[in-house]
């Protein structure tokens, strides 16, 4: 933390700088050719960027970096000062002032102004800032089995205060148990010539594959230029020519398949060539595969009507190929969690610094793979949850010791498969959530009535209601009580859900449940009157034939007893107001959602169906009990039921769970 007095010194310094910046910009409007003024603007921006970054204004520093580039272009003669440039610069200046004042202008404002700056300097500024974007090119790499590191430190290393033993300790910490250290003494001078303060020993260190190259190189921070250093991956034997395979060339059906696949990929001796493909192309392929699956369904439908055995044989063949193509395509889109965990390591590090709370950050299941779109959208919600865990969850060490806990807290980010879903959780061993307090706060905020009966998990879910914040004090880390509701809406937009578990005094766990993939799901197609509906097969727990006590009555919801448990049943005909012939022998589809089991009464089960999810139009987007629609083989549309939303809309919960929170 930076204390108030330092902040004040900083405020005074920046106030002078922005004043000078504004004056120079306004002067430039009158005398656009004044090189001195351009330099003045550039220098002011540079200093603002520098001190801003040191005082934690990362967004400011990033924005000024691009702003600066525009004036760098002018300085180097690649652009000229125009009234337009001054105009945009003044707007950019306003953004700087807003950011320094601690306001939070809309995020797209930065990009908008950067684009405008680039436009008025005719693109030269953009060239400066975008030069380090990674080129999209074929990328070939072999399977890494480990690292071979050979290094020899500069002779004066110890004289200037370096500590070689600490370096070796650090390497062993990075590599863990599999690390082998050998001293290389071939360069040692004869005893008579040996100066004890000089460094002549070299080392060879073998590290396991899990060690990250950047961590290893970080050990030699500052010294790489002055020392002998070679770091090479130990590669498995690579077959000549290589074989082009997708990252996970296996089916995505079950968790065991998944894990075996990634283990197989890690086995030594299975070197692979990998290719980078642009995300748009993958989306394009996924769209086409979706269309193919729909067309294939229509073809099967037609063939079944024609009853031509030759045609059926071809159709079955096409069906098999289409499904194989679908699985492969979905597998290509899967990206391991490790692609985003790096930034969480960093965040954890920064949070520890900012909050002064000492904690271990553990990441589990980094190889768990998720659809790339899901992974990208998860980053922000996870950052939010992680911040909350550290800021509000973990106690400081004195409180922990007083409570008889380990001095250092632990925050665990883990990812694992669960059926067709992936569970990502952030767990802390902090102070936990107090359900009574949450309840009381929710009543105060008018989110629930005084007498509302809630289960424990429903009570915790109140945390994610818009406008709810239990933070006793607003801190700079977790903002002002906005955000947790955004976590919920982001996850729900991905057809996922958020569950919160907590034990007062022992810690909390936020679990995001997400579908493996977004585009095609295995669905169960059901008939209700004249309508057809589909639900994700993964949510189906079982199907009941003709339950006796269901035929009486026609309320939308009822309750039956099933294996000594009470289960709520929704009659979809009544819930959705469907017309058409009634089946005298209705079926009940049991579905699981969260910790609730409910039944859907339908007329007929048609069977499992490759459901290509199509988004509903914006007009229908408020119908949240449907997560989308799919086109059936005969060209009709079936709506996809979002079971969790349906249960909520009917006000049903788990009847067997204890009611009070």
């Amino acid at each position: 933390m930076i204390d108030a007095e330092t902040q004040e010194i900083f405020r005074q310094e920046t106030e002078a700088l922005i004043e000078s910046l504004q004056d120079a910009l306004l002067e430039l409007n009158k005398t656009p050719d004044d090189a001195e003024l351009v330099t003045q603007v550039f220098r002011d921006l540079h200093t603002l960027k520098g001190t801003g970054a040191m005082f934690g204004y990362a967004r400011l520093a990033e924005f000024i970096h691009d702003f600066e580039a525009a004036f760098e272009a002018v300085r180097s003669g690649n652009a000229t000062v125009t009234p337009e440039l001054v105009e945009v610069s003044l707007k950019a200046y306003d953004l700087i002032v807003a950011l320094l004042d601690g306001e939070d202008p809309p995020a797209d404002r930065d990009a908008e102004l950067k684009a405008a700056l680039t436009a008025v300097t005719k693109g030269e500024a953009a060239a400066v800032t975008q030069s380090d974007a990674p080129a999209e090119a074929a990328h070939v790499e072999g399977e890494v089995e480990g690292w071979k590191l050979i290094f020899k430190l500069p002779p004066d290393f110890m004289e200037i205060g370096g500590n070689p033993i600490a370096m070796l300790d650090e390497l062993i910490e990075i590599g863990g148990e599999g690390t082998v250290v050998e001293a290389l003494t071939d360069k040692l001078p004869a005893l008579a010539d040996l100066k004890p303060s000089e460094m002549h020993t070299g080392w060879q260190v073998t590290l396991p594959a899990e060690a990250s190259e950047s961590d290893i190189r970080d050990v030699f921070m500052f010294h790489e230029d002055q020392m002998e250093l070679s770091l090479e991956p130990i590669l498995a034997d690579q077959p000549a020519g290589g074989e082009i395979t997708p990252a996970t060339p296996t089916e995505t059906k079950t968790s065991t398949d998944q894990q075996q696949a990634s283990q197989a990929a890690k086995k030594p001796g299975t070197a692979k060539v990998q290719m980078r493909v642009s995300a748009e192309r993958l989306d394009d392929i996924m769209d086409r595969v979706g269309e193919l699956v729909i067309a294939e369904a229509r073809l099967s439908d037609l063939a079944a009507k024609l009853e031509n055995p030759d045609l059926m044989e071809v159709v079955e063949n096409i069906q098999r190929l289409a499904l194989g193509l679908r699985d492969t395509t979905m597998a290509i889109r899967l990206t391991p969690m490790s692609s985003i965990t790096g930034r969480f390591q960093r965040l954890a590090h920064d949070l520890a610094g900012k909050t002064g709370k000492d904690f271990d950050f553990v990441i589990e299941g980094e190889t768990t793979e998720l659809d790339k779109t899901v992974i990208e959208k998860l980053s922000d919600p996870l950052v939010h949850i992680l911040r909350n865990a550290v800021d509000h969850g973990l106690e400081n060490s004195e409180t922990r010791i007083a409570a008889g806990k380990a001095e250092r807290g632990t925050v665990t980010l883990s990812a694992r498969y669960s059926g067709a879903d992936v569970l990502i959780s952030v767990k802390d061993d902090g102070k936990g959530l107090d359900p009574d307090f949450i309840r009381q706060r929710a009543v105060e905020r008018g989110l629930i009535a005084e007498n509302t009966i809630l289960t424990r998990s429903e009570t915790f879910a109140l945390l994610m209601e818009p406008g709810f914040s239990t933070a006793e004090q607003i801190t700079d880390l977790s903002g002002r009580g906005v955000g947790t509701d955004v976590v919920k809406s982001t996850v729900e937009a991905l057809r996922g859900s958020v569950e919160i578990e907590s034990e007062l005094g022992a810690g909390s766990t936020f679990t995001l449940r997400l579908p493996l993939t977004l585009a095609i799901i295995e669905g169960l197609l059901m008939q209700v009157g004249d309508e057809r509906f589909t639900i994700p097969l993964a949510a189906v727990g079982g199907i009941l034939e003709q339950p006796d006590d269901l035929r009486k009555g026609s309320e939308p919801t009822t309750v039956i007893e099933l294996r000594e448990k009470l289960v709520s049943i929704m009659r979809l005909r009544e819930v959705f107001g469907c017309s058409g012939p009634v089946n005298e022998h209705p079926k009940v589809v049991l579905v699981e959602t969260g910790d609730t089991q409910v039944g859907l009464a339908v007329d007929r089960i048609i069977g499992s169906y490759q459901t290509v999810i199509k988004q509903l139009s914006p007009i229908h987007s408020r119908l949240n009990v449907f997560s989308g629609a799919t086109i059936l083989g005969d060209g009709d549309v079936a709506l996809i039921i979002d079971v969790a939303q349906l249960v909520r809309s009917q006000g049903l919960g788990n009847l067997d769970k204890e009611q009070a929170a």
């Binding site: 933390m1 930076i2 204390d3 007095e5 330092t6 010194i9 900083f10 310094e13 960027k49 520098g50 001190t51 801003g52 970054a53 040191m54 005082f55 934690g56 520093a61 004066d156 110890m158 004289e159 200037i160 205060g161 370096g162 600490a166 303060s197 921070m221 500052f222 010294h223 230029d225 002055q226 590090h349 920064d350 610094g353 002064g356």
Partner: protein, 121 residues
């Protein structure tokens, strides 16, 4: 035993921030506002680490390092050199003069702590 760190920088806000950051981590920090004062302080007492800015009036950071290293008692004391990106080529000079490492301005508190902990931790 807490480690003693000497910070030499003419900018009060930077010096103060470095000092605050390190003190919060339990380091003892001594502040000097120029190289001459720094030399005097560093010769009177052995520090566990010295951090010096480059751009200072009268004596630059590199000049300070050269002067300090000319005294054999400075052997084994790590020096971290602060400079800005545009002075990138100076880090080699600082290294030859006897600096162990450097930090580019602007830096965040976390970066400073990471370097300090690495060097004296």
């Amino acid at each position: 035993m807490s480690k003693d760190i000497l910070i030499i920088d003419d900018s009060p806000s930077v010096r103060r921030m470095v000092a605050m950051t390190l003190q919060q981590e339990g380091f003892e920090v001594t502040q000097c506002e120029d190289g001459a004062q720094g030399l005097e302080t560093a010769k009177a007492k052995r520090f566990d680490m010295v951090i010096t800015d480059q751009n200072m009036p009268n004596m630059t950071g590199i000049e300070f390092i050269q002067a300090y290293r000319s005294d054999p008692s400075s052997s084994g004391v790590p020096i971290i050199f602060l400079s800005t990106e545009s002075e990138g080529n100076l880090k080699d000079q600082a290294r030859s003069a006897g600096a162990l490492g450097w930090i580019m301005k602007p830096f965040e508190q976390a970066k400073l702590l990471a370097v300090v902990n690495k060097v004296v931790g």
